[in-house]
Symmetry: C2
Amino acid sequence: MAIAKIKYTDGMQFVGEAGSGHAIVMDGDAEVGGSNTGMRPMELLLVGLGGCSGMDVVSILKKKRENVTGVEINVQGKKAEDYPQKYTDIDIEFVITGKGLSEEAVKRAVQLSMDKYCSVKATLEGSAKINFTYKIVEAS
Amino acid sequence: MAIAKIKYTDGMQFVGEAGSGHAIVMDGDAEVGGSNTGMRPMELLLVGLGGCSGMDVVSILKKKRENVTGVEINVQGKKAEDYPQKYTDIDIEFVITGKGLSEEAVKRAVQLSMDKYCSVKATLEGSAKINFTYKIVEAS
């Protein structure tokens, strides 16, 4: 069971603490009475998706002894126009940098995360269509 | 369009930066090769759910000129046993503290968030059954 406790501070600012013991600040923008002191709650979903799939990909490529020197994940989410404005489409781009990486290994790692392991992706895809691409960059 | 960029640092640590300009650290526990320097990606979904619904509730109760002195949201998520271990059930408890709060106003604010406004809830409920309760505490 994963747990979180979220406390109101002031304006539209909230502090969320999770079972792992870490805390983060969330806030809204001025338009909704916030002061932009922290991420929007909806942004956390995209960040979580990138972190979750990134951990899978790094973990799989390390096991295959691929020489990964950097991983960057770019996530974009499109919301419905009507309330409650849920995510309808999410694009993820994996940029994997390394020395002499096997394209087959990278492709397989990304696919395993997307199809089998990433819990955040599996949760979000109940509402949003999730598309993914990857790019391999040779480390200089 | 909401955006996020997630970068790998070391071990299982990633830094996620979102369009609002804020960044957070994510990490895994020792079991998956992490060092627990930040939240798990799956925890971010629960924190985001609490923040999103909390902002709605505070905003609605402020508009109604209710004297709210504190809001705490407790979120619990149950994951599927099998991979990809998505959330199957999420419970949210709203604890609203204030002076002479109208129970009707609190009930309505929570319902409006859950049924109409909360984008995170609307996104997550594609996969997870979301239950909510509320409790009113008289400020001392």
